[in-house]
Structures are given as structure tokens and as C-alpha cells.
């Protein structure tokens, strides 16, 4: 029987080396191209007709846009809308990667921690850059929670620093772990279904179907959490300590 972690292995399909850097094509790269092409194609086709009474595709696109818009307005307020293109791209990319990965035989890009860590680091650096650009040195005041007595500062600053640095890590690990764990459970159950006699083997097979349904839900929830936390972090950087009035 296959190792249940076997589906996560990546092997180069085409060996390409450019200036000594290995940029070989593999399944993950191909999947990302497919996802990007699919999202772009879907939204371009949905956006061309612009009817007053929308077609099915157009109303799906409108739902998506409205959903992301609601998420931004809830967490960052109106001035968060300038990040709409970035956040919509992030949400759709993660959502489609998660969902397409559930189709048997296709690769789940978000089960590679390299991918999720790259997203998380980019998002976090972006929030720091936005904070410094808007507030200058005052941005680093986030390391001092409001109302801290002076004698507690040597204790509170390291704690705040750690809690800030934990943000990109928890973003990356959450998405990676959820996707990897779900697919490993599916692989283990399916392996059991194949290796057991039919009399009992139908049970793990039924579970694979049930858990595949659960995974669709998790794919959505994880994309949602990643994007809403990006909103929260960007909102923190924009509003500093005043954020609690805007964020829920």
C-alpha cells in the first residue's frame, strides 16, 4: 500500500535550470497556472455581459465580489477598500487551490508549506510596510499596548514582539496543516477501503465520501480565515490601537 503522504511528493516533470537556479516544472506549478487561468477566465467571461438581470455565471461573480467586499468593510472599514484587488486575488487563489485539490488526481498547492509561508510572509511584510508608510516610527508603538504601566514595559515588549512574530507563522501553519491533514485522512481511509474485504471495506469508503464533503467546507473556511486575518492585520497597521472600533 502507498505511503499516505505519497500524494504530497513533488517530482520535476521538466528539468529547467536558469542561471544556476532550479526552476523545473512540477505538478504544483502547473496547478497554480491552471488556477490562475481558471479564475481569470471565469471572471472575464462573467464580467463581459454586464446584464441587469445577471446570467448564472455573472451572479456567481457578483456574489463572490460582494462577499469579499463585505469581509473588508466589516474588518477594515471604508478605507480598506483600496486593498480590494489584492485581497480578492488572495481569497480566490487560495479558495480555488483548495477546491481544485479535492478533485482526485489533482494536486493541492496549499498543502505545501512553501506556498502558504510565502503568502503569510508577504501579507505580514505588507502590513508592516503599510504601517510604517502611514505612521512612520509611531507604528512600532504597537509593541506597547495602551495603558501599560512603565515598570511592566520590559516584560510586555518581548511578549508583544512574540505575539506579532507569531502572526505569519500561525497564518502559514493553519492553512498548510488543515489541507495536509485533510488529504492525509482521505488517503488513509481510502487505503483502508482498498485493502479490506468488501464486507467491512465499504465503511471506510463511505467515510471518504463524507470527509470529502467536509473538506469542501474546510477549503472554503480556510480561504475565508486567511483572507479575513489579512484584513485584520492590514486594519491593525492602518488604525494602530484604534482598530477595535472597526474590527469586530
Amino acid at each position: 500500500m502507498d505511503n499516505p503522504l505519497h500524494p504530497f511528493e513533488l517530482h520535476p516533470l521538466v528539468q529547467i535550470t536558469l542561471f544556476g537556479v532550479d526552476i523545473s516544472l512540477n505538478k504544483a506549478v502547473l496547478m497554480m497556472w491552471v488556477v490562475v487561468a481558471l479564475i481569470a477566465g471565469l471572471l472575464i467571461v462573467a464580467g463581459t455581459s454586464r446584464r441587469l438581470v445577471p446570467t448564472k455565471l455573472q451572479s456567481l461573480a457578483e456574489l463572490l465580489v460582494d462577499f469579499i467586499r463585505g469581509m473588508i468593510l466589516d474588518t477594515m472599514g471604508k478605507d480598506g477598500m483600496r486593498f480590494f484587488p489584492f485581497l480578492a486575488t488572495l481569497f480566490l487563489f487560495i479558495l480555488f487551490c483548495n477546491l481544485l485539490g479535492l478533485i482526485p488526481g489533482l494536486y493541492t498547492v496549499t498543502s505545501q508549506i512553501v506556498v502558504t509561508a510565502a503568502f503569510a510572509l508577504f501579507v505580514y511584510s505588507m502590513s508592516v510596510v503599510v504601517g510604517v508608510a502611514l505612521h512612520g516610527v509611531k507604528f512600532f508603538g504597537i509593541l506597547i499596548p495602551p495603558g501599560t504601566p512603565r515598570w511592566l514595559l520590559p516584560l510586555m515588549m518581548p511578549i508583544e514582539l512574540i505575539s506579532q512574530l507569531a502572526r505569519p507563522l500561525s497564518l502559514a501553519v493553519r492553512l498548510f496543516a488543515n489541507m495536509t491533514a485533510g488529504h492525509t485522512v482521505l488517503a488513509v481511509l481510502f487505503g483502508m477501503a482498498l485493502s479490506l474485504p468488501l464486507l467491512i471495506g465499504w465503511l471506510p469508503f463511505a467515510f471518504t465520501i463524507a470527509i470529502n464533503g467536509l473538506e469542501v467546507f474546510i477549503a472554503f473556511i480556510q480561504a475565508y480565515i486567511f483572507t479575513i486575518l489579512t484584513c485584520v492585520y492590514l486594519g491593525d497597521a492602518m488604525h494602530l490601537h484604534g482598530h477595535d472600533d472597526h474590527a469586530r
Partner: protein, 73 residues
Amino acid sequence: MPPSTDPFYAGLGQAVRVGTELLAALIVGGGLGWLADTYLFASGPWGVVAGLILGAIAGVLNAYRAAQRWPSH
């Protein structure tokens, strides 16, 4: 596609979030302590010990803050 203001989804998002929040701060705290031990001071295990304690506090603080944003309507 549910509306993002749906309390069920907002609540579920918060619930899934809290667990990793605890873990990530612990790892970062311990990691910073280990770095300080190994490359800065050669201070034995004490950097890791202090880092883990601070990380645990930071993790609880993060989880508490995540819970504070709970939609209360």
C-alpha cells in the same frame, strides 16, 4: 456562498483560529530563546525556558484578543 456577516461563519472562523494562535506564539517564543542561547549568549537552556514562558503568555494573549473580536450582536 454565505454572507460574510453570518454569525455562524464568523464564529467558526474565530474558533478554528484560536488553536493555531496558541501554538504559533509558543514556537516563536521558544525559537527566539533558542537563537539567543545558541548564537548570542551561550546561556545554556535559560533562553529557551524564558522564551517558552514568554511565548506561552503571548499565545494566551493572542487567543484572548482573537476571542475579544467575537461578534457580539
